[in-house]
């Protein structure tokens, strides 16, 4: 029957002709191909010293953001933990004291905020769920480690550096 797609090819295995049986022409053309690659620039990125640029929609390690006055934005509403399909996020909320107004933006804040990086699938749903624009997955690759407990990242690793120290560096 006639093929409709016209893509069908009937393969016939012919015996090799003399040049093919000699192998040498094919070997010579193969050798020229490989020697061409010898002088090409290697595609290798020497990783620890040299890092490839991330794409703009890259999702890496989480960071908890501060507002323009250097106060933590997170209000411990728990929407990120609720939206997380991997159940990687936990937190404990606390009430802000009067003398802590310069530290936390809202009256409630997260005294403990933990993300288990072994559970996290970097889907970015926490980022989407957050009403306070407090969490973003804009960090680098999460580094390797030896123990499971070391993959549970607390506020010490997640919260952005304080504003003053950022200004001092600049």
């Amino acid at each position: 029957m006639e093929s409709l797609s016209n893509k069908k090819k009937v393969l016939v295995s012919k015996p090799l002709n003399f040049a093919e049986r000699m192998y040498l022409p094919a070997i010579a053309s193969g050798l020229t191909t490989t020697i061409g690659h010898f002088f090409k620039k290697p595609a290798t990125v020497k990783y620890p010293e040299q890092e490839r640029e991330f794409s703009i929609n890259w999702r890496g390690m989480h960071s908890l953001k501060r507002d323009e006055q250097g106060r933590e934005r997170c209000t411990a509403c728990g929407l990120c933990a609720l939206s997380c399909p991997a159940e990687a996020i936990t937190m404990i909320a606390a009430e802000r004291k009067n003398d802590e107004k310069h530290l936390y933006r809202e009256e409630k804040y997260a005294s403990v905020y933990e993300i288990n990086m072994l559970r996290c699938i970097f889907c970015g749903l926490c980022e989407e769920a957050c009403p306070k624009e407090a969490i973003y997955l804009d960090g680098p690759i999460v580094p390797a480690d030896y123990l499971r407990k070391d993959f549970i990242y607390g506020k010490d690793k997640l919260v952005e550096a304080p504003l003053e120290s950022v200004l001092e560096v600049k």
């Binding site: 070997i27 050798l31 020697i35 690659h37 010898f38 090409k40 620039k41 290697p42 595609a43 290798t44």
Partner: protein, 345 residues
């Protein structure tokens, strides 16, 4: 026998041994680098600048590995195998003339360990012996894959030895000598044997690939079918010896090809250089040229390995028996006719 003769030969033997091992060591590094460059990669570059210490790291790794002898292996033969492979690989360089006679002070030093008058046969014998290491190792492992590999190695080596021997006969018709010293010194300047024996060289080279078990004829250690073949049961430095012997064999084969067909230490303009450099340094310069040729061949071995896929076993056999042997015989006949005609007319 004078004492200084003994000392001279002793130094030469030690130097040759050290150079063979050093070259084999850095062939492993070069192989990985060449493979990387041919595949647009960088290759090992962590140990030392450009990864230059990589062979040392590999060696230390090999020594530190656990030594395992399988319970049902023939223990004695199992241990002899790698040693034999290594021994056969190392003794091949003894008859190679590495350079012209060199003046050291007022003493004429021959840059050759021994000039036996059947040097070519010696080389040929040593290369043939090399397969015993593989066979004994494969048999003593008491493993069917190793045994299959040993059988493959034996039949492959025997098949290709015939074509190799026949191509050498055609070369002998041209050179009229079996002494390697004689053969190399005949190729003075640019009068290389490859111009007279291009087909013979091609056959010899293909057979050298097969004899050293290098790709595309590396069927004895065919990873995909035999899980590494004859050295499957080996670990630690015994495995290291087998792998190392392969690289030394490659070095010896390259040396023999460079000496027999590409003029050894001869190069165009050598008389001019001899006048320029004097009787001490000119032979050494020739030796350096010789090593350049050897390195070029080693590079070619690697280049081919990373280009051509492995032959199927029946293709290997039909190439050897139906392709190379008739070609080699035809080469002898043609060479003989041409020599008879040029001598008589």
């Amino acid at each position: 026998m004078e004492i200084d003769f003994v000392i001279e030969k002793f130094i030469l033997v030690i130097a040759l041994f050290a150079i063979s091992l050093l070259i084999a060591m850095y062939s492993t590094y070069a192989e990985r680098k060449v493979a990387a460059f041919l595949q647009d990669r960088l290759g090992p570059d962590r140990a030392g600048p450009f990864g230059i210490l990589q062979p040392l790291a590999d060696g230390v790794k090999m020594f530190m590995k656990e030594e395992i002898i399988p319970a049902n292996a023939n223990k004695w033969l199992f241990m002899v195998g790698p040693g034999l492979a290594m021994l056969c690989a190392c003794i091949g360089t003894a008859v190679i003339p590495w350079g012209q006679d060199m003046m050291v002070g007022d003493r004429l030093v021959k840059l050759q360990v021994t000039d036996i008058n059947v040097g070519l046969l010696y080389i040929f014998g040593v290369i043939s012996l090399g397969v015993y290491g593989v066979m004994i190792g494969g048999w003593a492992s008491n493993n069917k894959y190793s045994l299959l590999s040993a059988i493959r190695a034996a039949s492959q080596n025997i098949s290709y030895e015939i074509a190799m021997g026949l191509s050498i006969i055609a070369l002998l018709l041209v050179t009229n000598s079996l002494s390697l010293r004689e053969i190399v010194s005949q190729q003075h300047g640019f009068n290389w044997n490859v111009w007279y024996q291009p087909l013979g060289f091609l056959i010899f080279m293909v057979c050298a690939f097969a004899e050293t078990n290098r790709a595309p004829f590396d069927l004895p250690e065919c990873e995909a079918e035999l899980n590494g073949g004859y050295h499957m049961e080996y670990s630690s430095m015994k495995l290291g010896f087998y792998l190392f012997a392969e690289y030394i064999n490659m070095f010896v084969s390259s040396t023999v090809m460079a000496a027999l067909y590409f003029g050894g230490y001869n190069y165009p303009g050598m008389d001019y250089m001899a006048g320029l450099l004097g009787p001490t340094w000119a032979p050494l310069f020739g030796t350096a040229i010789f090593f350049l040729k050897i390195f070029a061949f080693i590079f070619f071995f690697m280049w081919v390995r990373w280009t051509i896929p492995r032959f199927r076993y029946d293709q290997l056999m039909s190439l050897g028996w139906k392709g190379l042997i008739p070609l080699a015989i035809a080469n002898i006949v043609i060479t003989g006719i041409v020599i008879a005609l040029t001598n008589n007319f």
